[in-house]
Amino acid sequence: MKRKLIAAIGVAGMMVSIAACGTDNGGDKGDAGKKSEGGNKTLTVWVMDGSAPDAWMEGVNKEFEAKHPGVKVKVEKQVWNGIQEKVTTALSEDTPPDVLELGNTQTAGYAVTGGLADLTGDKDKLGYADWNKGMVASSELDGKLYSAPWYAANRVVIYDKAAFKKAGVTPPKTRTEWIDGLKKLKASDPKSQAIYLPGQSWYVLAGFIWDEGSDLAVKDGDKWKGNLSSPEAVNAMNFYKELASYSTAPKDKDEATPQQSTDIVPKGGVSSWIGLGWEAGGAIDAIKKAGKTADFGYFPIPGKTADKPGSVFFGGSNLAISERSQNKDLAKEWLALAAGKDQMTKYAQATEGGLLPNSDAAQFKPAAGSFAEAMAASSVSGKITPVTPGWANVETAPNPIKDYMTKVLKGEDAKAAAEAADKVINERINQQ
């Protein structure tokens, strides 16, 4: 479920789907592959709601349409809810969307179905060399390229400055400092939650597991197997449990039910929480609507030692082209443009660093004290879930990792519960 992973900005005016019109009859006939002689072609692009600031998208399409007269770009915004079913069926149709955004944890799952166009031969055109290596990993499978990385984001700790000040706590650099701070917060205001951490924030747990040098699942021969029951992963879960003991959040819910940003934090009584950029933005808006002002600070999730921030899940999206696309060459042109350095630089600016663009060169320098700054600082420890087509199966509801976390938080033995969860993961991860 990577629906939580979205832009920090442009939240408000997101409803309007842009059917960027205006064909600038700019004259020069594009030198692109397949020229659309006279014929009016439409390039359909599926992006997720909130991924792309409207203005940026319009800019990309204007430029594209100017280069390719007679071609129109039709952007259709999708919602994350039920997107997997929708994409799956769409890819089976004769006229699928030409370009589509896919969550990075799901890309491999589609690549293996043959529904995505193989882009290996277009690496140069697409600007492969410039891409952030950490992000490219999710676009590739068995040495072939199936999509262009687009953007990524990760979680940081968001805190209430006033509460921290009152308790005399400063942003921690290590786990020990973090826990000490939570103790102080609890002592200074027993009625508030020192941290709001629902029981099923499994991306947070994944970070702790990576901190231990381990992973959610490991490759064993040519099969994958769940790794939650490894001693490292159990340690990670124990740390999660310790953290959660400073929270009264539900043990059987994730951060989206109820939505921590808009349903929990604005009601007060939360000194810190772990979230994404758009969540921070959503909370600030909601607090403003209720007639108050938010005063948030941000810091990377602390690591085990002070020299490196804690590992975080690199959520993000890739842009792929469907195998059955009727306009593959045009789609590649569009992709090269949108995911190219120029447009990505503009993209980073438009999102004010709230989302990391696909190349370091396009990175926007975030403002001091902003969410983006903390995010950029912790992105050095960014990682992604195991890259295998079967991973998408693990994430689908009921997610065994979530059930495992709830069990442990309710007092079950971590090792035994982890073994049960691993069993489910083994079953799912090796299916395609």
Binding site: S92, V112, T113, N393, A397, D403, Q431, Q432
Partner: protein
């Protein structure tokens, strides 16, 4: 409609020249021409028919054949295939024989779900029928204004979109902001500061049950009331004069008269509850730890959620077979009642 219409084989089964078969009665020479028939006879007399009945029934059967039977057959065919995301997208056909079935039938999880569904349905339908009939009787006995009020409340509940009602019920029982927890606190019970109503599969199913009963009772109650109005006052009065208690009146007068109603409604409710998906799935996604999954939820999670469409089809076929088996005695009852009409 383009879907090809080959499946019409059963559209007009016997073109046999009309003249009703079976236990048909020959039409008695038209009874009195007068309109003052007090006790309307429900007798069905076969009027001259010929091809007419088949012509009348043909459009209905034809459309069901094309848009119901044909997809159903496709569904059965799918259940013998391995149809995962890959095969689905590449439009490949991979036959696996009975693999989907043997896998399912050998899965203890599947049987747990089956038993759970059956029990869940039974309890649900029982409550719905009892409460629905009770409210129907109450409606019949109320004054005009009260009756209007109560039936309006029922209608409102009925008209509420399912998406909204599930959301509202989830709110009501929410751990942190639930009205129910608030109510318990206000009433002075302790331990409801943050009581989790979805703690176990059982408690989750209980809440699903409340939602389903709440949503289904209006249908039963309103129809029950409508049915009651068909029982002539005379019958009531007669029973009363005999000094029958309310309870006895019910069994002696109401029940026999409304037996067809009870049968059909129970039949429909069993089907509807057994197939209820949104209410159970959206309540807690089949959790915690898959303990509140009923058959349709199981089919969704195992099949559609994990993109094993072949398995999903197999589950649905098994579901239908089970329903038919469960219902067969019902079919017979209803058909028998047909004869009595």
């Amino acid at each position: 409609m383009t879907v090809d219409s080959q499946g019409t084989a059963n559209a007009a089964p016997q073109d046999a020249p009309g003249r009703a078969a079976g236990k048909s009665q020959t039409p008695p020479p038209a009874p009195s021409g007068s309109k003052e028939v007090l006790q309307p006879s429900r007798g069905r007399r076969s009027l001259p028919s010929g091809l007419l009945p088949y012509l009348l029934v043909a459009p209905a059967l034809l459309s069901m054949a094309v848009l119901l039977l044909y997809p159903l057959i496709r569904n059965v065919i799918l259940s013998f295939q391995e149809l995962n995301r890959k095969e689905f997208i590449t439009r490949e056909t991979v036959w696996t024989g009975f693999d989907n079935y043997t896998e399912l039938l050998g899965d203890s999880e599947f049987w747990t779900v089956v038993v759970r569904s059956v029990v869940f349905t039974a309890v649900n339908v029982f409550l719905i029928m009892v409460i629905g009939a009770g409210i129907g009787l109450l409606l019949d006995r109320l004054g005009k204004k009260m009756r209007l009020l109560l039936s309006l409340a029922l209608v409102f509940a009925w008209a509420m979109p399912i998406v909204a009602s599930v959301t509202v019920f989830r709110w009501l029982f929410d751990e942190q902001f639930g009205v129910v927890n608030w109510l318990m606190r206000t009433l002075g019970f302790s331990g409801y500061e943050q009581h989790n109503w979805f703690e176990t599969g059982f408690s989750t199913l209980v809440i699903c049950l409340i939602l389903l009963v709440w949503g289904s009772v209006p249908f039963v109650a309103l129809n029950m009331y409508a049915g009651l109005t068909t029982i002539g006052t005379e019958l009531y009065e007669a029973a009363k004069m005999d000094g029958a208690s309310g309870w006895r009146t019910f069994w002696a007068v109401v029940f026999p008269n409304l037996k067809p109603f009870f049968m059909i409604t129970t039949f429909l409710e069993i089907i509807w509850i057994f197939k209820a998906f949104t209410q159970v799935y959206a309540m807690n996604l089949g959790g915690p730890d898959r303990a509140s999954e009923t058959l349709p939820v199981f089919a969704y999670i195992e099949g559609v959620g994990q993109f094993h469409y072949g398995v999903a089809a197999a589950i649905s076929v098994l579901t239908i077979l089970m329903l038919v088996a469960l219902m067969s005695f019902y079919f017979r009852l209803i058909l028998k009642q047909e004869d009595e009409l």
